[in-house]
Amino acid sequence: MKWNSRTRCALVCLGFVLLFSAFSFRLIYLQMIKHEQYAGLAAEKHVYKQPIFAGRGTILDANNEVLAHNVPVETVVADATHLTDIEATVDLVSGELKLPRVEISEKLHGDRRYIVLKREVPKAISDSLRQKLRTQNLRGIYFEQDATRIYPNGVMLCHVIGFTDFEHRGIQGVEGSLDEYLRGQDGYRYIEHNRAGQELVLYRGQERAPRNGYQVHLTVDLNLQNIVENELDAAMREYSPKKATIILMRPQTGEILAMANRPAFDLNKRSEAKPEQMKNRAISDMMEPGSTFKIVTAAAALNEHKFRLDSYIFCEKGIWNYGGTPLHDHAAFTDLSVKDILIKSSNIGAAKLAVSLGDQKFYEYIRRFGFGERTGVELPGEIPGLIRSPQSWSKISITHIPMGHEIGVTPLQMTAAMAAIANGGKLMTPRIVKSITTSDGKTISTLSPIVLRQVISPQTASQIGSALRGVVSDRGTAAAAAVPGFIIAGKTGTAQKVGPHGGYEKGKEVVSFCGFLPAENPQFVGLVVLDDAQTKPELNYGGLIAGPIFSRIAEKAARYLDLEPHEEIRKAIPVERVALTNAPRH
């Protein structure tokens, strides 16, 4: 080969061809084969998936009064790598956020890059801080949008509403049980930043709008709740019980109109609350119901046609030996009708009714009234109570269970059982949620009343209702529960308190009253329970403590619900006189 100019030229050209071919192949390799990988890496550097937070749904009462909603706040964070003047930043931030200087200094001098300085900072404070940072030309402090839950009514209805944690997850009450409806669904948007960190709107990518949480409407009427809470507070001041619970329920639908417990806590200061204050005792505490349980015994006996309402039973003159154990009454009753067994609250009479039924049948009725199983109310933490099967009963259980001993029931179960009597024998599922709607009012779900079962016949329910009217009269144990102008049906209960290690605690009683108004067309059923009321032993009875509380609540509730008095208001009989003439043991 001649090494002339033509050859050299050709070689140079070939060299260029090879070089550019190599470049071309590399380009094709990068742009086509490795495209996905490098496009992804590039996107990671400048494309950012910005979350768009959904607002948590509001909780409203039956009249659309706000019980829980959101307030926008900001979380103040620092990026340690962006801080320009740490000391000046510490001074400014600690002053504005009212945080100790040492705490801020330690955080900013630490190893972490992303530092949360303070959560839930009100907008006004964060705006002021933002302005001052800009004025002093301090960088590295950022503000993240957030929201906090506020409860305008504080303590009121605290156990029912519940609360959320700092990640906005509902963890108690309706906030917890309906979290999936209240939470909503966050949206997102793919955005690109410039070098200064500002969004390039031109290069916005795919986005999905957030769906705000649904609004939850409760069956609770805040007006009735207010009446109940005020009376509960008055009772706490007067009797200082360890615990207290009041429930109001509409018997025809099972709607809970009011539910309050003490001790309680302020939902806006939930971090200061003690565990015992947070417990919804209406559904998560067991109690021995005492004589209020006699309605179950009498209803079972009448429904099984073992007795009629006017059948007489010999009550052994106050003491009956059964199974080698004496059973006492608070008075030496001789012959009492079934109606009078309820009115006078005879333990022996109730025991004889249960004995006539037999263990298995009596147990069946207890279960049919809903005891021993969760009611299914839309609240977390409900317990089923404790009802032992007849196989594990002792010889005397058949005489003790009829008067509400040896069993554990929740206040809500007891209210639901009384509501079944008031509702013609139909046991309804207690409900606290009325409906679920979108924020613009479109209905997502309406919860209809659920009839669990027909526990007793309407005739039996009517007979028991008639007997319970006598309880709230000058002949009965709950004269003090009367409301002038209305006929009330109800039953008192006084049970010795069960100690933490078993056995009964002397001098400590759980007193209760459960009733409905008006007796002929019940608009609400109410239960008042006070655990270990501090009063004189001779006054520590359901009829004398829980009865008057029920009376005051019923009177105010009737006025609020505009119930028309069906009875002529006659001359008053002083309660004190009635209390003296009717020693209401149980």
Binding site: V201, A481, V483, P548, E576
Partner: protein, 121 residues
């Protein structure tokens, strides 16, 4: 001399020149329009962002105001104000209530109701 100079001059093709001028102007205008429109897009993006921020701020202010209204009109707040004397409420006396239907007397069950003096407080 003039004549020889004129002979050396190149003749200009007017039509071709015009075509080039139009083409260049078109390209220049296209380029400028592209730059202008791109800048406009950035500008509109910034404006959109500013408006979004403004709407978000207004929405936030609205939520804060709603929260304040709810807190100030809540039952607890009203009761507190009632106690403090900022609000006055007069209970309606029984004789001022007019009922449209007369109370009916239930004859079947004439149990004497009992008035509760302690409950009347």
């Amino acid at each position: 001399m003039n004549r020889s100079r004129r002979q050396n001059w190149n003749t200009v093709n007017a039509a071709s020149l015009a075509r080039w001028i139009v083409l260049t102007a078109f390209l220049a205008l296209t380029g400028l329009s592209y730059v202008y429109l791109t800048l406009q897009l950035y500008h509109l993006g910034d404006r959109k962002k500013a408006l979004e921020t403004e709407v978000a701020n207004l929405r936030m202010q609205n939520e804060v105001a709603s929260a304040q209204i709810a807190a100030l009109t809540s039952r607890s707040a009203l009761q507190r104000r009632l106690k403090e004397g900022y609000l006055k409420m007069i209970p309606i006396a029984e004789h001022n209530i007019v009922r449209l239907t007369m109370p009916t007397r239930n004859q079947e069950d004439a149990i004497q109701p009992v008035s509760n003096q302690r409950g009347a407080r």
